[in-house]
């Protein structure tokens, strides 16, 4: 084949590297899961590619979700980076917004990614209205850069006060620095984020500079290796906003990959849900230490304006909004001194992991409760490192740490752990929907990753969800999302004006100009799109409020004040129940997203082609505890179930990397796409 019709999605996570192969001409697919190679991520990447017979020369596009940037941030393994600021403001980065890590206890410290001796000040000042108060001192700038180089800086970031109102000095600084800086790792904060709020902008830029050398060298290595294997197509990188970008853009803006992998999973979920006819879903990804949920309402994913990777590590860049609570499979169950059963936040993680793994942890986890209650198959542990799970050890730990303090036997205690864990997961689902003004009863759960499907059935009852939709390959959802994701570039400009006095024609012209820049970034060759769109949002509030709401406005409506006002009031109503009259309205920021729609494929190719009867898909039976008693429960080979199969609970559906529990009083049905739809009878 020479038409390069194969697309490959590759998600490199902390534990596994997942790959999804799609031949667009034949509709043939394949999924591959290999262990990740931490620190040498390209090795696992190439290893995964080799597990499929596709010749790389025949591959048109590889789309990559990466945690290289995330890990470098979390483990503080970025580059030595310098920061140049306006005189008087080098400590903005370290002073944050005067917060603290925990409300109670007054403990905890903060170490900025750029230490104080790597932060230089230069004479320069722009006022809030954009006028130049003090010109940029070029000699001082050169001297500062030289000092940073002498101190070993590999990257440099420029962040000036009020530069959002006038970028002239930052642009000037980039020119001067380009003459003396020995590499390409230069970041001007307003190139990344021309938005008001100096700490958030500086922090985002600092993290970008900190990541540039690390991510660039990783992508270079990867590109070289792929080239050596004959790959001549496009390599694209998934951003935190769920869109993809070129390698060139990713090398310049690595901070946009901070939540790359999880974002791809949500994108895949949205597509799977839409195809299956589910408009409203909440995705749930249960890992070892955390439970991540994201809301998709009316088929649309929701973007958050910023997030903190860790205390004080603020990234302000649109990203798929993912809420996290500290309740994963490895979360430890314990009884506090007041006699109340608690789950987490402490976690046994994957090393040493749950008690049943036999790797040294003796405090019970949520996974241990699932093992003891027969919900997880002790004879076939997921992950493949162990032959068998130690049920007795898990039971003993549960009895000792939870049962005895609460006066319960081991089984009752295990059931209590699950009940309380499910209540916490339910709380997370409830909160993401309620916070955005929705009723959780209008939503279905969509678990992806390994652990979510174990709890999805229970969550239906706990939250009152309509149903749960379990994708055919939940364990490789992020890799699938890579294949599906559109190319996307989000841009922002601060407007900061009163709607009544705003020159809306100028606003519309500005939006078009920014939109054109974004469309240009999509590129004109190489990648094929089925369409190109511009989406416009205004961050708006009533005058006097400091929090804004993101108001979608059609590009054509931007020059019409009344239409903007109506759009704001409609958004405000959704968020807060009602809006106010006779209060001036402020427009803080203009956001324009340029989207290149990549070709979609028919998700029906994922559906099973077998016509196995459900009873023939029963692989074994085991005792499972549910609703206060043990049940002799059939265990189905999930992938063997044909389209249209119906399985009544209690039942267990197993596949390589996921276990789905059909609770009592629930039914599982295989839909046309091979998804399992769980619902109460």
């Amino acid at each position: 084949m020479t038409d390069k019709s194969t697309v490959i999605g590759v998600d490199v996570g902390g534990t596994f590297t997942d790959l999804f192969f799609l031949d667009e001409s034949t509709g043939a697919i394949d999924v591959v899961k290999v262990p990740s190679t931490r620190g040498r991520e390209a090795d696992g990447f190439l290893d995964g590619l080799s597990r499929n017979n596709t010749k790389l020369a025949e591959v048109g596009t590889i789309v990559h979700g990466t945690t290289v940037g995330t890990n470098a941030l979390l483990e503080r393994k970025g580059a030595k980076c310098g920061l140049i600021t306006s005189e008087g403001f080098r400590d903005v980065l370290e002073m944050r917004r005067r917060d603290r890590p925990a409300t109670w206890g007054l403990r905890g410290e903060y170490t900025p990614v750029i230490p104080r001796d790597m932060r230089m000040e230069v004479p320069e000042r722009i006022l809030a209205d954009g006028t130049i108060d003090t010109p940029l001192d070029h000699d001082a700038l050169r001297a500062a850069a030289q000092t940073l180089l002498d101190q070993g800086a590999e990257a440099v970031v420029v962040a000036f006060v009020n530069a959002y109102a006038n970028t002239a000095h930052e642009e000037e600084a980039l020119k001067v620095l380009a003459e003396i800086w020995p590499n390409e790792h230069l970041t001007a904060a307003t190139r990344l984020l021309p938005e008001i709020r100096e700490f958030e902008r500086t922090s985002t830029a600092a993290l970008n500079g900190y990541l540039q050398p690390v991510v660039a060298s990783y992508l270079d290595r990867l590109n070289t290796r792929l080239g050596e294997e004959g790959f001549g197509g496009d390599l694209l990188i998934v951003q935190s906003n769920g869109g993809v970008m070129t390698v060139d853009t990713a090398r310049q803006l690595p901070v946009r990959t901070a939540l790359s992998g999880p974002a791809a999973g949500v994108i895949a979920s949205a597509e799977i849900a839409a195809a299956a006819g589910f408009e409203n879903v909440i995705t749930c990804d249960m890992g070892g230490t955390s439970f991540d949920v994201s809301l998709i309402a009316g088929g649309e994913t929701h973007l958050a304006a910023q997030t903190s990777i860790d205390f004080g590590m603020v990234v302000r860049s649109p990203m798929i909004e993912i809420s996290t609570i500290g309740a994963g499979g490895g979360s430890i169950a314990w009884v506090d001194d007041a006699g109340i059963l608690q789950i987490g936040p402490e976690s046994a993680g994957s090393i040493p992991g749950p008690v049943a793994y036999g790797q040294g942890n003796d405090r019970p986890t949520v996974t241990d409760a699932n093992v003891v209650l027969g919900r997880i198959n002790a004879d076939r542990p997921i992950g493949g490192k162990l032959d068998r799970l130690d049920v007795e050890a898990a039971k003993a730990a549960i009895l000792k740490h939870v049962g005895e303090p609460l006066g319960l036997d081991a089984i009752e205690a295990a059931a209590a752990i699950l009940k309380v864990a499910n209540a916490r997961l339910a709380g997370a689902l409830r909160l993401v929907s309620i916070e955005r003004g929705y009723d959780p009863r209008d939503f279905s759960a969509l678990p992806f990753g390994g652990g979510g499907a174990l709890h999805a059935g229970a969550l239906i009852g706990e939250v009152g969800l309509k149903s749960a939709l379990v994708p055919r390959y939940p364990g490789v959802a992020s890799a699938l999302g890579c294949v599906i994701a559109d190319m996307r570039h989000d841009q922002v400009r601060t407007v900061n004006g009163i709607l009544g006095a705003l020159d809306t024609d100028a606003l519309a012209a500005q939006a078009r100009a920014i939109g054109d820049e974004g469309l240009a970034l999509l590129g004109d060759g190489g990648i094929s799109f089925t369409g190109r769109d511009l989406l416009v949002e205004l961050d708006m509030s009533y005058l006097g409020q400091t929090h804004t709401v993101a108001v979608p406005v059609a590009l054509d409506a931007l020059s019409d004040r009344d239409q903007i006002k109506a759009a704001f009031e409609a958004t405000y109503d959704t968020a807060f129940g009602s809006h106010l009259e006779n209060v001036a309205i402020r427009v803080l920021n203009l956001r324009v997203s340029a989207i290149g729609r990549r070709p979609k494929f028919d998700l029906r190719v994922l559906a099973p082609t077998t016509d196995t009867k459900p009873e023939d898909a029963i692989a074994s039976r085991r005792q499972m505890y549910a609703d206060g008693g043990w049940h002799d429960t059939p265990v189905y080979d999930r992938l063997a179930l044909a389209v249209g199969s119906v399985v009544a609970g209690p039942a267990i559906l197993e596949q390589l990397d996921t276990t789905i529990i059909v609770e009592l009083g629930q039914t599982a049905r295989v839909d046309d796409f091979g998804n399992i739809v769980l619902a109460a009878d």
Binding site: M95, R100, P115, E198, V420, I434
Partner: protein, 552 residues
């Protein structure tokens, strides 16, 4: 202890806390003034139907309200009994600090929650309004001698009767504020938060039944007491005391003191404030309810895992001398309550540090530094830039104190200087860490900050309400003191002057191009500086956290 099914108890605990958290989130997102929206100077919770005791409190609200709101609810309970006409849909509103704690800026909206015709509990919302009248915009009046000079005082009155708004109340409130739009917006936000709480409670009680939820609330309270007793029992028996100081009361430049004797006996704890100065002329007084709330805040910093409910104070006896600084009577001014409760928390830390050094951090920077700059724009409209400023946290047994943190009584963030510069005619000329400001120790105190602000308009006035201008935050367990607070302005002869009361200033006239400079304290040091790891000492020098000593 009631024997409630442990599983339902754990589940209901989470559900109830979520209701309070959602009320917090609703107000933070819809508030009009940055003190609520950005600084989270607000709180929500559920309170006992009969006693007003805290049952459940949101996790993201201002810590000091955790204790104070119980007193506020009790004040409403008393008023409702007196009125004798409490009905579903009533909402009381008030800001009387002598009954409800804290200061006039904090408006409490309190609403009964009925279930099957019976009063089940109270739901309350408190938020710091931007301006409530008085002599000084923003209400930090350093020279107030009566509460009448600090703002309007509203006793508990019905904003809503049976679900119907009383518009006269809104008219009165609006007429008494310099920023009526902000008052209206924040009040609406609080009403919406209460309404949300009612809806969530309805749903929860439908699901679990009133008696079950009531039993859970009682059990959680009792468990709070059990946990606190366990924590007290973990301390050695004994008595420890400490005294710390306030600069002055803003009227007379005389030092005042807070003296505390902590006694631990088995599972009981006594906090005895005998020896504390008498109530003062200026606004540094606090009422009994505020003092008890501050004790709770201090204890929760020492024992972060105790819950936010009334049971926690059961094994704690608090002795407050009548008509002292900590038990003032109306109309003694209380507008500067933050400074006094911060000092109260400092003495609690200093006592616990003697009992068990690992348990308590050294005192933090210890002043809220409420600085406002105010003028009129060319159109004649008033502008008020008002903010609290940060400082260092104390060193602790796990490490150095946090640089530029928020006050122990608050989770407030500071507004971006770009937002301030875009809204007001000022230019910050410095926004920086203050070298040497953390007390030395095995673990150093965190650094305070330097903020220097230049006026761009023709003229304006500055007001400052701060403390620690004379006595810096001390260290504990052998650690050193931090640098003191320092506020300076042009002396008219090319130099800098400090206010006569050091950290309190009212009506300071500024003209275009003039600057004011605020240098805030760091935190106290923890442990013997001689034991500090050489690598940390070297790092302090390299990063400039510690420079060749200057004399501040």
């Amino acid at each position: 202890m009631s024997d409630m099914d442990p599983i339902t108890l754990a589940v209901l605990k989470g559900r109830l806390e979520q209701i309070a958290d959602e009320m917090d989130a609703t107000l933070f997102r819809s508030a009009f003034n940055p003190i609520i929206a950005e600084a989270h100077d607000a709180s929500h919770g559920l309170y006992h139907a009969e006693t007003g005791e805290t049952l459940i409190q949101g996790k993201s609200g201002l810590p000091i309200f955790v204790g104070a709101m119980a007193y506020a609810t009790k004040a409403v309970i008393d008023k409702a009994r007196e009125d004798g006409n409490l009905s579903d849909g009533d909402v009381y509103i008030f800001n009387d600090p002598y009954d409800g704690g804290t200061h006039l800026s904090d408006f409490k909206l309190i609403r009964p929650y009925f279930r099957d015709g019976e009063l089940f509990c109270w739901i309350a919302s408190v938020g710091h309004w931007h301006d409530v009248g008085g002599n000084v915009p923003g209400n930090y009046n350093p020279v107030a001698t009566e509460s009448f000079q600090e703002g309007m005082l509203i006793p508990p009155v019905k904003l809503y009767s049976g679900g119907k708004l009383n518009p006269d109340i809104v008219t009165i409130l609006s007429a008494n504020s310099r920023l009526p739009r902000s008052v209206y917006g924040d009040m609406n936000g609080q009403v919406n938060a209460l309404q949300l709480g009612i809806r969530r409670l309805d749903a929860l009680l439908d699901e679990y039944s009133g008696p079950t939820v009531q039993q859970a609330l009682t059990t959680l309270r009792d468990r709070g007491a059990v946990l606190m007793r366990a924590r007290i029992a973990g301390l050695p028996d004994g008595t420890w005391s400490a005294t710390d100081y306030l600069d002055n009361d803003g009227i007379t430049d005389e030092q005042m003191q807070i003296t505390l004797k902590v006694t631990v006996k088995d599972e009981e704890l006594t906090l005895d404030f005998t020896g504390t100065s008498a109530q003062c002329m200026g606004p540094l007084n606090i009422s009994r309810s505020t003092a008890e709330a501050a004790c709770y805040v201090a204890l929760k910093h020492v024992f972060p895992d105790v819950p936010a409910n009334g049971g926690v104070l059961e094994p704690v006896q608090i002795d407050l001398p009548e008509e002292s600084l900590l038990c003032a009577k109306a109309p003694r001014p209380v507008g500067g309550y933050t400074e006094t409760i911060l000092r109260l928390i400092d003495v609690v830390f200093q006592c616990f540090a003697q009992a068990t050094p690992e348990i308590a951090p050294a005192p933090a920077y210890g002043t809220i530094n409420a600085l406002s700059i105010s003028g009129h724009n060319p159109g004649g409209q008033r502008w008020v830039m008002f903010s609290f400023f940060g400082g260092g946290h104390g060193g602790h047994s796990d490490g150095d104190g946090l640089n530029h943190g928020n006050a122990p009584i608050s989770t407030a963030t500071i507004p971006p200087l770009e937002i301030l510069e875009s809204a007001y005619p000022v230019k910050f000329t410095q926004w920086a860490l203050r070298p040497n400001s953390g007390g030395e120790g095995e673990y150093r105190g965190g650094l305070g900050a330097i903020y220097e602000i230049e006026l761009l308009a023709d003229d304006a006035q500055a007001f400052l309400f701060g403390e620690r201008g004379r006595t810096p935050p001390p260290g504990v367990n052998g650690g050193g003191a931090a640098l003191r607070n320092r506020f300076t302005f042009p002396d008219g002869q090319g130099g800098w002057a400090e206010p006569p009361m050091t950290s309190k200033m009212t009506g300071l006239k500024l003209t275009k191009g003039q600057r004011v400079r605020l240098e805030t304290p760091g935190g106290g040091g923890w442990g013997d500086p001689g034991k500090r790891a050489p690598a940390l000492t070297e790092q302090d020098q390299r990063l400039g956290y510690v420079e060749t000593k200057d004399k501040a």
